[in-house]
């Protein structure tokens, strides 16, 4: 392979930004490559994270965006544990992932809000703003947030075309359907960009640049199977404990997404409206199981992290904490609604908890594009690319 000369003009600002979001130890690396050697996931042909460390040290942002390796890292912490300089490559890669997310997404200010504690109240106000706006619109004025019969269980009902929508359902739809569409559009555009970057970086010949459909068919399915099984994650040594809670959490999200989809179809479209009986309805069963799994997963992760921090194999930066606590409080408020509304004496508190729950879900949904949560999309993309690249290299040789 002919190597061209790269003109170096390190970006001091980029380095400082990466350092600010969890990679403060970045510069301590002296390139011994212990990390790449101990990493159970690093492939022999393109080992990481040694090279990513120096690229980041020199602020070589373009190179890092183009590099699927940073997504193949599952942050087991083996590298950080064995690093002789306490450069914490695992944390540096996590920060690099955040910086790539930032780089690829439009409306960078949103990203800034997600990466800083001071941004959280702003995010909360933004989500509250949209939800309240929708509530006022759909409930026909400001509902009473201290009375469950007024909010969410009051307000007018709407007959639109063949749909029969109570205010509380329409309120959700007018906020979350546009939000979901917005997030999906920007993510698809980012995936498209990153995929093309990968193709260019690895100089994939035109003949091997397959159509989207065949890529999805051939590589996405095994990638998803791998993700569902956590085969890569389970290779991690230093923080083996993380794979199981993370897997449980992933399955919890899948179950919750599934129940949400059923509810959407059954209630919003077909008109079988909630509340359904929490103990008798099978969808409710599934939802509750998902919720419990979510709580189990997220609490184990939080506890495991604090243990791992003591032995210095993991460090938790603000974006990590944000995601953990966001999920935790969504789980808690979700169950809170269920409990509060079924006990008549405290039923009226349901309104506020519901409002908070919706605001947090809003932040999480938007966070699919702007927080650590985005790894869901880019790691999948990188694994697909990894499978694709390995396959075609074999075919080409």
């Amino acid at each position: 392979m002919v190597k061209e000369i790269i003109k170096m003009e390190p970006d001091l600002q980029a380095i400082k930004e990466i350092q600010a979001i969890g990679a403060d130890t970045l510069k301590k690396c002296y390139q011994c490559a212990t990390c790449s050697t101990v990493c159970p996931l690093s492939p022999d042909e393109a080992p990481f994270p040694r090279k990513q460390m120096i690229l980041a040290q020199w602020g070589f942002k373009e190179r890092l965006i183009n590099d699927p390796a940073i997504w193949l890292c599952h942050q087991c912490g083996d590298c950080s544990k064995y690093c002789p300089r306490q450069a914490n490559p695992g944390e540096v890669l996590a920060a690099l992932r955040l910086s790539v997310i930032r780089e690829l997404m439009p409306f960078k200010f949103l990203n800034t809000f997600y990466n800083n504690l001071w941004g959280f109240p702003i995010l909360f106000l933004i989500s509250l703003f949209f939800i309240l706006l929708a509530a006022i619109g759909t409930f026909g004025g400001i509902p009473n947030f201290f009375n469950a019969e007024s909010f969410p269980y009051g307000g007018p009902s709407y007959e639109i075309w063949f749909l029969h929508l109570p205010a509380r359902i329409l309120m959700i739809d007018v906020v979350f359907i546009p939000l979901t569409v917005f997030v999906i559009i920007i993510l698809l555009s980012a995936i498209n960009r990153i995929w093309n970057f990968y193709l260019d970086t690895y100089k994939i010949p035109q003949a091997y640049r397959y159509k989207v459909w065949s890529i999805l068919k051939v590589y996405l399915i095994p990638a998803i199977a791998e993700i569902l099984n956590h085969t890569r994650f389970e290779k991690c040594e230093a923080n083996k404990w993380r794979a199981l809670p993370h897997k449980v959490l992933l399955w919890a999200f899948i179950i919750l997404a599934f129940t949400t989809a059923i509810v959407f179809v059954m209630a919003d479209i077909l008109g079988f409206h909630t509340p359904w009986h929490p103990l008798l309805h099978p969808v409710k069963w599934l939802g509750n199981i998902g919720g419990l799994m979510l709580l189990y997963g997220i609490i184990s992760i939080a506890l495991g992290r604090s243990r791992a921090e003591v032995e210095k194999s993991v460090r938790t930066s603000y974006p990590d904490s944000l995601l953990i606590y966001l999920i935790l409080f969504i789980g808690l408020t979700g169950f809170g609604i269920e409990i509060f509304r079924s006990i008549p004496s405290i039923k009226n508190a349901t309104s506020l908890i519901y409002l908070i729950h919706l605001a947090l879900v809003f932040i999480l949904f938007l966070g699919v594009a702007y927080s650590k949560f985005t790894h869901l999309v880019f790691r999948t993309t990188a694994i697909v690319f990894d499978l694709y690249f390995k396959d075609i290299t074999q075919k080409m040789s």
Binding site: I6, K7, M8, K27, R85
Partner: protein, 733 residues
């Protein structure tokens, strides 16, 4: 010595394996005045016993037949009584066993060869050792301290007024010695005075500080014990430790002073950068050396030389003209630190500036890793391993640098305002003698080329010793080093200088035989002016007069006996070590008649490494051939061919010399001893051939102190080889 007492220890297995009464008889027959045996001679009671017997019998010499001379030497030390040690324990009972072919150890009473039990051979060996010791003491004369005729000077001369020289001067003066400091330049301070800053010389070794040199200069200038010559050079040194006559040239006039010892701290010069045109020096604008950049920084001038625009980016090329066979082949050890420091200048001057360091290996010596770490943390410092392949003129007076083999795995192009070449140190001794010694072997320290011109030596355990006694190197003339190391080095050199003065005052050897009061004495009536002694002395202790007679400077002498070994006329002798003594020792041994069935071997073993390694082998109960007799010698260089001749004519079938390793990484404590012995034995081998004897009968082996298994194997193999030859025909003559 007239009255010799023999004391035989019965402990440590000696009585178990040897017949003590028989040894006592032998001692008496050999001429001992008094013979005793007792258990635990090294105990308090044992020592008191010996002291009483010395008094009772008026003994002037004692032979302690017990353990090796390397142990308990502090116990067996008696006022004004000569002591010889017979190693019955390490030399016999712990190292000679009857090992069967199957490897098991047989009883001593077993038959060794027909009609001879192993015990007989063991006793023959022990008796030979006792006889040899008495013969030795009979020839022994009590050494007296050497006192030069003229008065001894205790002044310390320090050459060089840089950080090392100033420290050496201060430390010497603090210890109470008069110091003369000679500095070539008009001002004191040397290189450090030209710096803007340097790495701190104390914990935490993370920061840079203003040069400490002003503090040192004011201390030196305020010290009444230190006399300073600025703008002066040492034009000539003659004499020896304690009696050096030094000529100092100042303003065209020469002044003569007397000093006792010299500390050489003349420092280094930067490598000539005009030879580095391949890195753009002299060809491309805005390429400077680290020395030039330091000057710019000190002047507060952090701008591009071409157009005086501020430096926004800087690139350091490490190992410029270093670790390169075409330039300096070695690492100068300071440059990585210097570049990091200079990068810090730029970074502190402008927080948006960038500093690149292209290295082969980052080498920040010792705890200065802390400094490297702290600089690494700066986001504006960019480090990569790499090979600079091109330095050329870029746009807008920038310098374009192309780097290959980087840690990125790719070729990089970096455009910067200034390129700094991290050039190395060249010791002043590489280009001039500096010392200007009036020595027969030349004005400079010998063998400088091995150390690329540095005033270093290959003394593994004695880092300050040069090959000129009483002359100690310190600082960057000694080895490439940092300021902190130079300070340490200067303190060490000052201490060595003081030790030297004390030894000279007491009249004993300076190094390494610091206990030794004996010295070589020359009987010049028989001298044939062959010059071997003056040429071979590893320390240049001998000058020559116009007729080529040797002029010994005893205070320069280290008592290795190389001159003694070299002299064909045998006119050089020590009071406690002479040709006659060794000859008598050899003659005192008992040689079996022809056809006895067992051979006799003689080994001359160097006391410095070979003898200890045999002692350690004895502690591991490794077996040496029972037929071999060992005479410890101060250095193989002190083995005169006469020893070999005496042993051969006595009837010894083979002669083994065991000494230190020689060659490039020599371990000889006296530099050349084993090498010279090897040359001499080659000549002996020729003589043997003329006599129709196998040249292998005289063999030299080298060993390191830790090569225990190997040394035993070498001795065993030598024994086996000799057994393949006929008996020595001179036996019984």
């Amino acid at each position: 010595m007239e009255k010799i007492g023999v004391f035989i220890c019965t402990s440590c297995d000696i009585e178990k394996r040897l017949d003590i009464a028989e040894l006592e008889n032998i001692a008496r027959t050999q001429g001992a005045t008094a013979v005793y045996s007792k258990e635990f001679l090294c105990s308090k009671e044992g020592k008191t016993f010996i002291e009483e017997k010395i008094k009772e019998n008026g003994l002037s010499a004692v032979s302690i037949c017990a353990c090796s001379q390397r142990v308990n030497y502090d116990v067996f030390n008696f006022d004004k009584v000569a002591v010889d040690r017979v190693s019955l324990r390490e030399g016999i009972v712990w190292s000679r066993f009857f090992v069967s072919e199957g490897g098991e150890i047989l009883e001593d009473s077993s038959e060794y060869v027909s009609g001879v039990s192993f015990k007989d051979e063991l006793m023959a060996l022990a008796k030979d050792y006792v006889r040899m010791s008495i013969a030795k003491l009979q020839t022994y004369k009590f050494p007296e301290p050497f006192k030069p005729e003229e008065e001894i000077s205790k002044t310390i001369l320090v050459i060089g007024g840089g950080v090392a020289g100033l420290t050496a001067a201060i430390e010497s003066a603090k210890a109470g010695y008069e110091v003369i400091l000679v500095e070539k330049e008009k001002e004191l301070g040397g290189f450090v005075a030209k710096m803007k800053a340097h790495c701190e010389i104390n914990s935490p070794y993370k920061n840079i500080v203003s040069p400490i040199i002003n503090e040192l200069i004011s201390q030196v200038e305020a010290n009444e014990k230190i006399k300073i010559y600025k703008g002066a050079v040492v034009s000539n040194i003659e004499g020896g430790p304690g009696i050096f006559q030094v000529k100092i040239k100042l303003d065209g006039k020469e002044e003569q002073i007397k000093v006792g010892v010299v500390i050489l701290a003349a420092g280094f010069k930067p490598y000539d950068a005009s030879k580095l045109s391949h890195l753009g020096y002299g060809l491309v604008k805005n390429v400077v050396t680290n020395v030039e950049f330091e000057k710019m920084a000190k002047e507060g001038n952090l701008t591009r030389p071409s157009d005086s625009k501020p430096i926004k980016s800087i690139l350091f090329i490490q190992c410029a003209g270093q670790r390169d066979e075409n330039h300096l082949p070695y690492c100068s050890s300071y440059c990585c630190l210097a570049s990091l420091k200079q990068a810090k200048y730029i970074r502190e001057n402008d927080s948006e500036s960038k500093a690149f360091i292209i290295y082969d290996h980052m080498r920040t010596m010792g705890i200065y890793e802390n400094f490297y770490k702290s600089l690494q943390d700066d986001p504006g410092i960019f480090l990569t391993k790499g090979k600079v392949v091109e330095v050329s003129q870029g746009e807008n007076d920038k310098v374009k640098v192309v780097v290959e083999e980087t840690l990125f795995g790719e070729k990089l192009e970096i455009n910067v305002d200034l390129v700094v070449l991290a050039i190395g140190m060249v010791p002043v001794t590489a280009e001039e003698a500096v010392l200007n010694l009036e020595y027969r072997q030349g004005p400079a320290l010998p063998e400088l080329e091995i150390f690329y011109g540095y005033a270093d030596s290959n003394f593994i355990c004695f880092p300050y010793e040069t090959r000129r006694t009483g002359i100690y190197a310190a600082g960057a003339i000694h080895q490439p080093m940092t300021i902190q190391q130079a300070i340490e080095d200067a303190k060490g050199a000052a201490l060595k200088a003081i030790q030297c003065l004390v030894a000279i005052e007491e009249g004993r050897a300076v190094h390494p035989r610091t206990w030794d009061f004996a010295y070589p004495e020359f009987d010049l009536k028989m001298c044939t002016q062959c010059k071997r002694c003056t040429e071979e002395c590893p320390f240049g202790a001998l000058n020559e007069d116009e007729k080529a007679y040797p002029i010994p400077f005893i205070t320069r002498c280290r008592r290795c006996g190389t001159c003694f070994g070299a002299c064909p006329q045998r006119i050089i002798n020590f009071k406690d070590y002479s040709i006659e003594m060794i000859s008598n020792m050899i003659k005192a041994t008992e040689m079996p008649e022809q056809g006895y069935g067992l051979y006799r071997l003689m080994a001359f073993v160097c006391e410095n490494d070979a003898l200890p390694s045999l002692d350690i082998a004895a502690y591991h109960r490794k077996s040496l051939p029972v037929t071999i007799r060992i005479i410890p010698v101060r250095c193989l260089g002190s083995v005169n061919v006469a020893f070999v001749k005496d042993a051969m004519s006595k009837g010894y079938d083979g002669i083994l010399l065991l000494g230190c390793k020689y060659g490039e990484n020599y371990q000889c404590h006296f530099i050349k001893g084993s090498e010279l012995a090897n040359t001499r034995m080659t000549n002996v081998a020729e003589t043997l051939q003329q006599l129709a004897l196998e040249p292998e009968r005289v063999t030299l082996h080298t060993t390191a102190i830790d090569e225990i298994e190997e040394v035993v194997k070498k001795v065993q193999e030598f024994d086996k080889e000799i057994r393949g030859f006929e008996e020595n025909p001179f036996k019984g003559w």
